[in-house]
């Protein structure tokens, strides 16, 4: 097929795309708060539990009420910067899931493996994430960064 004809065909097909109608409640995941370690000293670990309402990371999820979702967290094992790294560890109880958005009565989970859970009867759920920063004694001053990736997938479609 000639390129021009192909382009025209593509344009026609795209124009024929069905109008977008509202279908239930759209799936949404938001990073509300980061994992906050406060002041960091060489050689001093900084643990932050998932239940720490001020320092744990918080992700709000909304979607279809009572629907089943899978949450997967891709976690960094270290933060990088200043030509070196700072180890960051996550334990089996460093994840917490809540239907109310509160850290009270969290359902603990291992953030290193995918979590299957349900949204509340109002279509909401909240993930809290803790972790431990492990700067060695020789940790150099500087700026260190890492990336947390959260993947949310509905399981009812």
């Amino acid at each position: 097929m000639p390129p021009t004809l192909r382009s025209l065909l593509v344009a026609a097909l795209l124009a024929a795309a069905p109008a977008l109608h509202a279908q239930g409640r759209p799936l949404r995941a938001d990073g509300v708060r980061g994992l906050t370690f406060g002041t960091v000293f060489p050689g001093i670990q900084v643990p932050v539990p998932a239940s720490d309402a001020a320092r744990s990371a918080q992700f709000d999820i909304s979607g279809v009420k009572n629907s089943s979702i899978q949450i997967t967290l891709l976690l960094p094992s270290q933060l990088t910067g200043a030509g070196t790294t700072i180890p960051l560890t996550f334990g089996a109880a460093d994840g917490g899931y809540s239907l109310t958005g509160s850290t009270a009565g969290l359902m603990p989970f291992d953030p290193r493996v995918p979590l299957t859970t349900v949204l509340s009867n109002s279509g909401r759920g909240t993930v809290f994430l803790g972790g431990t920063l492990v700067p060695p004694n020789s940790q150099r001053a500087g700026s260190y960064v890492g990336t947390i990736t959260i993947t949310v997938a509905p399981l009812s479609l």
Partner: protein, 293 residues
Amino acid sequence: MTPRRTPRSFAAFPLPALALLALALVVGRATPLRAQGVLVAPQAVFMDHRTRAGAIELYNPGTEPAEVSISTLFGYPVTDSSGVTTLYTSAAPDPDAPSAAGWVQAFPRRLKLAPGQRQTVRLMARPPQNLPDGEYWTRLVIEASGGRVDVGGADSTSIQVGLLLKVRTVIALLYRKGGVSTGVALSNLRANVVGDSVAVRMRLAREGNAAYLGQVHAALLDARGREARSFAAPMAVYYALEPRYSLPVAGLAPGRYTLALRVDTSRDDITTAGVLAGRAVRDTVSVVVPPRR
């Protein structure tokens, strides 16, 4: 778990280190992440062989620009031996798998959304010639990264850490060609009290050549047929599922109950055009709620 180390005594640090640490105490700050996912609608896209086109809408509700990429990945829900549903995915699906991941494309595939901006992303299918009639599946992975990491700056004497957030939203895309039909066979329904809940298990096997997008309705009926507990949950059967559901028993009088289960294609979260009607199936099973101890 990582063993925790005992914090070192300040007396163990030489004076210059103490000075540095004092400075760190003043200016060393962890930096919160600043990013939000984008809102993706709809949750499922239905395309057909006639138009070979579809669309999703993206919206950035945050206060920072978001960089968005869209990719495809073959996958569908499955259950494990304990009834937990997970998303099976494969970057290299079997050649016989009904995958549309290799021939559905998004336009644009990468974009930047300003705060408050909406954008429609068009989807186009280029299926292989002589594609047999049936339904083909892929997942659309919408990855959003945004915000910035506030680290560095003028101060070079402290340890500063920052975390960037990426949010991936995964939605379903189903492509239909020719005659498609669906149905589900319900078997092996069982229910028993486990702890403070009635655990409900069943086997659901898809019929026809398209996924069964439906809903499970369950009601726990007492000896007089009155509804004591109920739930409804949307589900999707691509091949077979053996899901597990729970009904709380707290507050229920001890005795024999009947669990009545119905599976149908009533869905209010997807368009009527997307719903393939299939026959409803029903079954019942007895369950005994024991006296509390």
